[in-house]
Amino acid sequence: MAVAAEQPPVDLREPAGWRRTKNNVATVLMWVAFVAVLVPLGFVLYTVISKGAPSISGQFLTSSIPPNIMPANFGGMGPAIVGTLEITALSAVMAIPIGVLGAIYINEYGGNRVLARIIGFMADVMTGVPSIVMGLFVFTIWVLHFGYSGLAGAFALACLMLPLVIRSSYEMLRLVPDSLREASYALGATKARVTLTVVLPAAIGGIVSGSLLAVARATGETAPLLFTIFTVEATNTNVFSGPDTALPNQIFANATQPYVGAQARGWGAALTLIAIAFIFMIAARISTARFARYSR
């Protein structure tokens, strides 16, 4: 039996040439894109945190808004925080149920019906409407008749959230495989049962996180609130009537002031707003993970 000659190992590396060059170029481009995205984000966060953090304190989060001329570390943003939370919550209560029901109609019941296609198309159009136009719209049909209020602001924010909720919920419902619907039908379920007990539970994680992302986005909207809630310094606990205030409005108002103290409070408000939006994002993540308990 002949002894096998010692052979060098096979070279399994990508051979040098055009293909390896393309690979290297693409890798570099991806890193450049990654850094290009990260740099502005990093600067924004750095600026807001470095300028806003000194203002943040228990007193800042609860105290009323002082006159602009007062120095930094005096007063706080309590009324604006209360206003933002109230108005956002109210708009979520209005937009999320309607949006989810609309998405259920489009995906489960509408089929190719004209109404379903109109709703889907209108939702897409609404996504493209500038937020300031939403504010003007609510100003014209509501504020001119009933005056400024948190409720009017909530209407405007709900108009902004609605298409986002419809779109994200629709996409989630569409991902539910038909085989699950068929399994339910084959057990004698009615359409409503199939939707409520199989389709909605299977999609709920995505629907909740999509809705929370829509809320997070609406929290930061300024333009629609300027026309609808006015901007006041005092706490208005009644969200349904009287001029109100919110964090984005205060950031806008304070940023246009020449006083150092007012500007510092503005930065503090900006940091607070980012934190609130961030909390919604985290909640969205947690809800996705939580509802996915049975999906693997």
């Binding site: 089929g111 495989p177 699950l180 399994a183 057990l187 004698g188 379920a189 539970p201 049975y294 693997r296």
Partner: protein, 292 residues
């Protein structure tokens, strides 16, 4: 693929093979009425006629197998038996399907009520993204059983019937999606049995399973046969010979001029007769492996 001469029709589609007298030698006598009685059933998807002129009886406590090449309409006929085709837009049924004396497609018949009696197991295991317990309890729950003790009992009985109880009894609250393919398919069978249907329709239930899991499901079918009437679509002819009492062979008819294809029932008889003494040359070609 060469189409045998018999597959080409010039103008008019022929009637399915007549039930000739020799068939009687192989089939046991039936005194009770059949569970299903289909007469001249044609099924359309939009303008496409998927199945043409199918007539057959399906008998109680038997396993009836539908075999035939792809596209011959086996699954379409199966889904007609519990009105699952209603879910496909444009699907339409011509002719008459009787189930225990009632016409399935008469006006006023609720597909929901039909499907409560006639359950279905699908080709791909499709457990709900719920716990194993909730998967089985789902059917009884939507049909009105709320009592926890009653549900517990139904879940255990159904899982035992599906030969899955011993494997999952300690993890009933774990996701049904965490089971292997064979276990998931037995879970789907348990889910179907939990509503105590009269008939179980099975659409290629073993096509995604390995031979061992397939064997378990075939054993299971034999065990539950005394309580249920089973109709199974299968691509596996050995499976048909192993499990079924009767076999229906479907094939595709192609019109030479227009190239329009449609499924027809070629021959229906006892499984022994279909495989050992087929009356139609197409059946013979198929069961001996020369076609399809």
């Amino acid at each position: 693929m060469d189409q045998p001469e018999e597959h080409v029709v010039k103008t008019e589609l022929p009637k399915p093979a007549a039930l000739d007298s020799r068939r009687e030698e192989y089939v046991s006598d039936y005194t009770s009425a059949p569970v299903f009685n289909a007469k001249s059933v044609s099924i359309y998807y939009g303008t496409f006629r998927a199945v043409t002129d199918v007539s057959l009886d399906i008998h109680e406590n038997e396993i009836t197998a539908f075999i035939g090449p792809s596209g011959c309409g086996k699954t379409t006929v199966l889904r007609t038996l519990n009105r699952m085709n209603d879910l496909i837009p444009g699907a339409r049924v011509d002719g008459d399907v009787h189930y225990r004396g009632a016409s399935l497609y008469a006006s006023g018949v609720s597909p929901t009520a039909v499907r409560r009696r006639i359950g279905m197991v699908f080709q791909k295991p499709n457990p709900f993204p719920k716990s194993i317990y909730d998967n089985v309890a789902y059917g009884p729950k939507i049909n009105g059983t709320r009592n926890k003790a009653a549900l517990d009992e139904i879940v255990e009985r159904s899982l035992r019937q599906a030969a899955l109880w011993d494997e999952v009894k300690n993890r009933l609250n774990k996701s049904g999606l965490g089971l292997s393919g064979g276990q998931a398919q037995r879970l789907c069978i348990a889910r179907t049995l939990a509503v105590e249907p009269d008939v179980v329709l099975m659409d290629e239930p073993c096509s995604a399973l390995d031979p061992i899991a397939t064997g378990r499901i075939e054993d299971l079918m034999q065990e539950i046969k005394s309580r249920y009437t089973i109709v199974i679509v299968t691509h596996n002819m050995q499976q048909a010979t192993r499990v079924s009492d009767r076999t229906a062979f479907y094939s595709v008819l192609r019109d030479e001029k227009s190239d329009v294809r449609t499924g027809v029932l070629v021959e229906y008889g006892s499984t022994r007769q279909i495989f050992e003494d087929p009356q139609d040359s197409r059946t013979q070609a198929y069961v001996t492996g020369r076609m399809g």
